[in-house]
């Protein structure tokens, strides 16, 4: 049995997950401007991309868990595999950056939600027609 094959696949899964985490972090950063400028279309495109990346990470996590079980059973995964250790190290850093960006984005979304609610309330009040009192109408007519 060639034990390099499962390790290579496992490494590839880890690398794909690392790439997805990094892309998601970049996407969150790049979507900040669309959020602040209230660009619904661009914001929607970023949201779709982020949903896809979340799904990809979730699937990869599932595959990695299965691979962990198989490799542990087959004793094919060498713990001193440098490439795997290196990818795991990078992944840890990437995950920390993703979480930090996520918290920043959360703050921005909270602000945007509050602001848009205030704007909508103001807009609703604007729509109410202001009926001048008879005194105001008479006064403006007298001044004319």
């Amino acid at each position: 049995m060639n034990e390099n094959v499962p390790i290579a696949s496992y490494t590839e899964l880890l690398q794909r997950r690392l790439d997805a985490v990094r892309t998601l972090t970049r996407s969150l950063r790049e979507s900040q401007n669309a959020l602040l400028t209230r660009d619904v279309e661009e914001s929607g495109q970023f949201t779709e991309q982020q949903i896809d990346l979340c799904n990809e990470i979730e699937f990869l996590d599932r595959d990695l868990r299965s691979a962990d079980e198989i490799l542990a059973w087959a004793k094919a995964l060498k713990p001193d595999n440098r490439e795997i250790i290196q990818i795991r190290k990078h992944t840890k850093v990437a995950e920390e950056q993703l979480m930090q960006n996520c918290l920043v984005h959360k703050g921005l979304v909270r602000r945007a939600k509050r602001s848009v609610t205030i704007m909508m309330n103001a807009k609703t009040n604007d729509a109410v027609y202001h009926v001048p009192s008879s005194f105001e109408a008479m006064q403006s007519a007298e001044e004319a």
């Binding site: 998601l24 979507s31 900040q32 401007n33 959020l35 602040l36 209230r38 619904v40 914001s43 929607g44 949201t47 982020q50 949903i51 979340c54 990470i57 979730e58 996590d61 995950e95 993703l98 979480m99 930090q100 996520c102 918290l103 920043v104 984005h105 959360k106 703050g107 921005l108 979304v109 909270r110 602000r111 945007a112 939600k113 509050r114 602001s115 848009v116 609610t117 205030i118 704007m119 909508m120 103001a122 807009k123 609703t124 604007d126 109408a137 008479m138 403006s140 007519a141 007298e142 004319a144």
Partner: protein
């Protein structure tokens, strides 16, 4: 010298002024758009208030969010773009979706 204005004539004159008085719609719309847009900017720039059931924000992340907003406000040119209610509703829905994404990321990173 003409005859003094009767009550009927005076009322007619006043009513015709009231009926013909048309405010400059464009000026009103631009002013309102500017007011509503300034609400967006002032509200974004002010600190968040919390309710008791909300988890407190990470202080570093909150500072960073504040910096991002400040930088945006500095480079923002004041424009009175019209604010359409349907767009606001769409944007509110987009924000809801974005909140779900944030929750999904938090869940994924906790596992």
């Amino acid at each position: 010298m003409g005859h003094p204005e009767t009550i009927l004539e005076r009322t007619d004159r006043m009513l015709s002024v009231i009926a013909s008085a048309k405010p400059d719609i464009n000026v009103i719309q631009i002013t309102r758009a500017r007011d509503v847009n300034s609400l967006w900017q002032s509200s974004l720039g002010s600190s968040l208030m919390f309710s008791v059931d909300e988890a407190p924000l990470d202080a570093t992340a909150e500072r960073e969010a504040q910096n991002i907003v400040s930088r945006y406000l500095q480079r923002q040119h004041y424009a009175a773009t019209p604010v359409v209610m349907s767009q606001m509703v769409d944007f509110q829905n987009a924000l809801q979706m974005r909140s779900k994404v944030i929750s999904a990321i938090e869940t994924l990173m906790r596992v």
